[in-house]
């Protein structure tokens, strides 16, 4: 199964919880067991798995990424002015892989899948591929 979701972002940097949308795809597929590969086809957005109980965790992650890789740096050469977003995307990574069993992802109690926007707001895509097994 292969599906493409649309993710609308509303800020330059933002982490959006997309867990339920991916779980719906897993639940609706004919595969009970396997792996879900969530793939971001962009170079200024990434994806990570993090806590969704306290929104301050997301705040602190975005704060620290900006502290480590500020938007503007006089040594950046890329003319679009978004090199920081490219770097943050590579630090988070372009995909996550989550096993599922009995049509449910084996996420930990506090885990959620976050689409990481670093150069929004934009309309983004997320590919979800399910591999049975």
């Amino acid at each position: 199964m292969f599906e493409t979701l649309t993710v609308r972002t509303s800020k330059r940097a933002e982490m959006i919880d997309i867990t339920d949308r991916i779980q719906d795809l897993v639940h609706g597929s004919d595969a009970a067991d396997g792996c879900a590969i969530c793939y971001v086809p962009h170079t200024t957005a990434g994806i990570t798995i993090q806590e969704n109980a306290d929104p301050d965790v997301v705040h602190d992650i975005l704060y620290k990424l900006e502290a480590l890789v500020p938007h503007h740096d006089p040594n950046f050469r890329h003319g679009e002015g978004n090199s920081d977003a490219h770097i943050k995307a590579s630090l988070m990574g372009s995909s996550v892989t989550v096993p599922f069993r009995g049509s449910a992802m084996v996420l930990g109690t506090w885990q959620a899948i976050y689409f990481c926007e670093f150069d929004g707001p934009r309309s983004r895509n997320l590919h979800v591929k399910l591999i049975k097994g």
Copy 2:
């Protein structure tokens, strides 16, 4: 095949070599060829593949992660005081995927799979999913 291993950690930040335990699962399965997905269901622990020949490499990684993302930061809002651990976990990632052939993972000569504890000591879980193919 899906198995859950328990990993006991003994320090706040620690990298524990779990290669042999995963290789045992690969060896004991009926799949000769495929991929092993090693998945951490926690938000303050991660997983990475690194050198196990010289323990100073692990020291230097943990030292540098702490230098980049110190435990305490006056701008962190998360009340549990472990925002650094969440950030380090996302920087390392929540899973690694390692191909195997003839029931052996194709790790490089110096490579080992490390469970990365950033907010221990705790008892942790690690899910291992094998996909044939």
Copy 3:
């Protein structure tokens, strides 16, 4: 399908676009749909997916990684003097997973797969495993 590619690097730190070589493997396989796992069996090299339209993006990533993790640090203990390369490799990660459909990887418009050398120049290997599904 499992193949090993050789990647020759010419600098200490370098990102080499290997997209076409992986796409050729996908195209030449008997699997129309599935996932390509690109795995680096080294501990001082990594892999990431980034923009290949403007080479300044690669420049800025390598610049910033070196700014965050300089080659020399008086607190590093590892005797080989390449701890920075180990850390950069773990920050980028040891593998990427890319879905493919109709024998083509679903890369975004600006995406390319980059082998990330952090302690070259060397001759390196890259394992490519295709999982059908």
